[in-house]
Assembly symmetry: C2
Homo-oligomer: 434 residues x 2
């Protein structure tokens, strides 16, 4: 039986979960995978935390050089997060010829090319299933399951915190701020929630997933990003009236002719879309391939054991395959020449504005839309006596949904509409995906 020694860098939530899975399943993996995986070393400055997990003192280190020079360590699991010191530690491991398994989406999306170059040099493995969508095997599906397909679109709910917040706002009719506070108290959101609620976390993942799906480097700075902090409960309620659910979507599109579109933003989707019923902290990724058609993967995108499950599946994969596979595309820091990233993308739009109920205002609005060739599908105008919700403010709300049009046209039209006489303000502009 093959013996495999693992080092875990960082015993936070995911590191602790990984340790628990590896130790509790050791006999199970001996029996089912014919490998004996032992945790040989942990790098953790909080020694007590390691001792509390039952780790022998001799295996606890505060020195990366000691960990990567340990001949009993074959695979280094990095679950520290962030760029430094994680990056230096991962590079040190790869330089020593150790295979690295990481859950670090930020590091990976920013320095993938550099990490992979280091891995190739020593023929070390570099695995990152846990970096995207926790326990859902989306990386392996893209690399080892969908590889027969030209993938045209990838649409995902890939951040658990924002999905939890939006689900509760919709279900309970609550404001963003109230749900965020509760989510923080319950551990669903961090003290500083920026990375989640502003869409950075989803953008990191989308950069990685779309690079794999489209076989070309999709740099982070090409991902259009908008968070959920400006979402009003009113928009969720009006969307519901029109048959839509609001989600923070990560969308990647590839036209197969060198044009790629990658964006993270709140979006309405129809209630009968498979992603519409992905609620709470669950995640899902919906893919369209030219042969397979539509497929969807659904599961927990975060958490100690789901993410630990992805880490350990990578450890087993690395330990039971004779050679390592690297990216299937030219993995450089920048995008490949010839690839164009679309910024003036096409979408439908939900627009809410408030107007003084004066004759002529709507005619002027219609004129602006006509000028930019934007046509309207759905339209709600509340009468003077409508049931004014808390926070609704002055004026009469008007909600409309456009046909498919271009992002830039909408931005220009909205600017013009906001400046019209009789318009109180344009409250919200939210994309509507098919």
């Amino acid at each position: 039986m093959k013996s495999v020694g693992v080092a875990i860098l960082g015993l936070g939530v995911v590191g602790g979960g990984t340790y628990k899975i590896l130790t509790e399943h050791r006999e199970f993996y001996r029996r089912t995978q014919n490998i004996d995986i032992s945790v040989e070393s942990v790098l953790e400055l909080n020694k007590q935390r390691a001792l509390d997990l039952g780790i022998e003192e001799s295996k606890i280190s505060d020195n990366i050089a000691e960990v990567v020079s340990n001949p009993n360590v074959d695979i280094v699991v990095e679950v520290i997060g962030g760029v430094e010191p994680a990056k230096s530690f991962v590079l040190a491991a790869l330089h020593s010829g150790k295979t690295v398994v990481t859950s670090n989406k930020e590091l990976f999306c920013k320095y993938w090319y550099e990490l992979e170059r280091a891995a190739r040099r020593t023929n070390a493995g570099l695995y990152f299933e846990a970096s995207c969508v926790g326990g859902v095997p989306i990386i392996r599906t893209l690399t080892d399951g969908m590889q027969a397909n030209v993938v045209h679109t990838l649409t995902g709910i890939i951040n658990g915190t924002t999905n939890y917040i939006l689900t509760r706002m919709a279900r309970e009719g609550l404001d963003y701020a109230a749900v965020l506070k509760d989510a923080q108290a319950l551990g669903y959101a961090e003290k500083d929630p920026t990375a989640d609620v502003e869409g950075f976390d989803a953008a990191y993942k989308l950069s990685i997933l779309s690079s794999l799906a489209f076989h070309t480097k999709v740099p982070l700075d090409k991902v259009y990003r908008e968070g959920i902090t400006g979402i009003s409960k009113l928009d969720i309620a009006y969307g519901e009236e029109l048959g839509y659910v609001l989600k923070l979507l990560a969308i990647g599109k590839n036209d197969g002719a060198g044009r790629i579109e990658v964006r993270v933003h709140p979006a309405f989707i129809r209630k009968d879309h498979p992603l519409a019923s992905v609620n709470d902290s669950f995640n899902a990724v919906f893919l369209q391939g030219d042969s397979v058609g539509e497929i969807m993967l659904y599961g927990r995108g975060a958490g100690s054991l789901p993410t630990g499950s992805a880490i350990v599946s990578d450890v087993i994969y690395a330990a039971t395959h004779a050679d390592h596979k690297y990216a299937t595309f030219k993995n450089t820091q920048l995008a490949e020449k010839g690839v164009r990233f679309v910024t003036d993308f096409q979408s439908r739009y939900y627009i809410r504005f408030t107007a003084h109920d004066r004759a002529g205002v709507l005619a002027k609005v219609a004129g602006v839309f006509a000028k930019y060739n934007i046509s309207i599908v759905d339209f709600i105008q509340k009468g003077e006596d409508f049931d004014r919700a808390e926070g609704e403010g002055e004026g009469i709300p008007v909600i409309l949904i456009t046909h498919t049009t271009s992002e830039f046209s909408v931005r220009r039209a909205v600017e013009k509409i906001a400046a019209l006489d009789g318009i109180v303000q344009v409250n919200s502009v939210i994309r509507v995906e098919n």
Copy 2:
């Protein structure tokens, strides 16, 4: 660049789709996978069919010995279906050291051990992603994505024909026979639909999937099987009233202590279960692992291109990995010693019977249930003046749903109830899954 020669045995629906994918994507695979895959040979008695696909005459064969002795062929794709001649052909390929990729669930579930023995002998690969749930990468998820987990349950809608029929029966209020006829005309059901509608196809797949999920051989004859031919539109409608959707489910359970339960039968599931919205010919598999929690994979379970996608992903996988992996369990014909297959499984039950509306009948029925320790959750009794549906027959319908109880208790109770004075008949007994 590595060159890989493929032979396709059988140019039916899946064989044709596989040929199309391989030839149309040849340049794409050169670019993204760094391999050049060419179709070097096809085995097809209907020569015209091969010529119509554009295959050169010199590559068309009617002789398996010729195909497997072709030095340009590295991988043999078997898409003939059924046991013979597919089995002899696959064994011939494996004996010649050719890697085999198959979509043949019947062959695979019945002779897996024999095929794998042959493959190990010549160190050939044996891949079968396409045998279960078409384009959905469920096999690879079990072997390469969920392998860190003890899988406790697997619940799937894994037959497209029956899901199509049940979806239409529910949506349109039609009878089984009418929808079947239509499904046959539209190509969703075969002329002889037995394998699908009696649950054989789902049982083949469940045998394979649960063997992988539970790391032990689950022989086909251990799978309890019941088809959808006895399903009445009345039951679908009454279930709907109670908040349930009817599906043909494949269920595998593993208690982790050597007790395994595998069954294919129609079952009611609650409308808010993720599987409830899997409609038409779509398939999905819902898994519960001890670390990852719940995950679900959704997509097309059949069809020329989705199944071809799975075949080709196996071809690429086999071509780009240095060594082959075989089953992670003792792959024999019979079940392992020590594994117990549960037949008296636990479930909730929907029971519909018709009674003469006589005082005392229901009391007698209640007495029978009490005798077998079966308690009732939901209960519908129609009054004398209920809106009698077509086919409802004599008597007053009574519908009830039990708490979790044992299969054998229900069978015995139903037998007793059917014999009671005042009971016209017990019309249906359908399991209700959580």
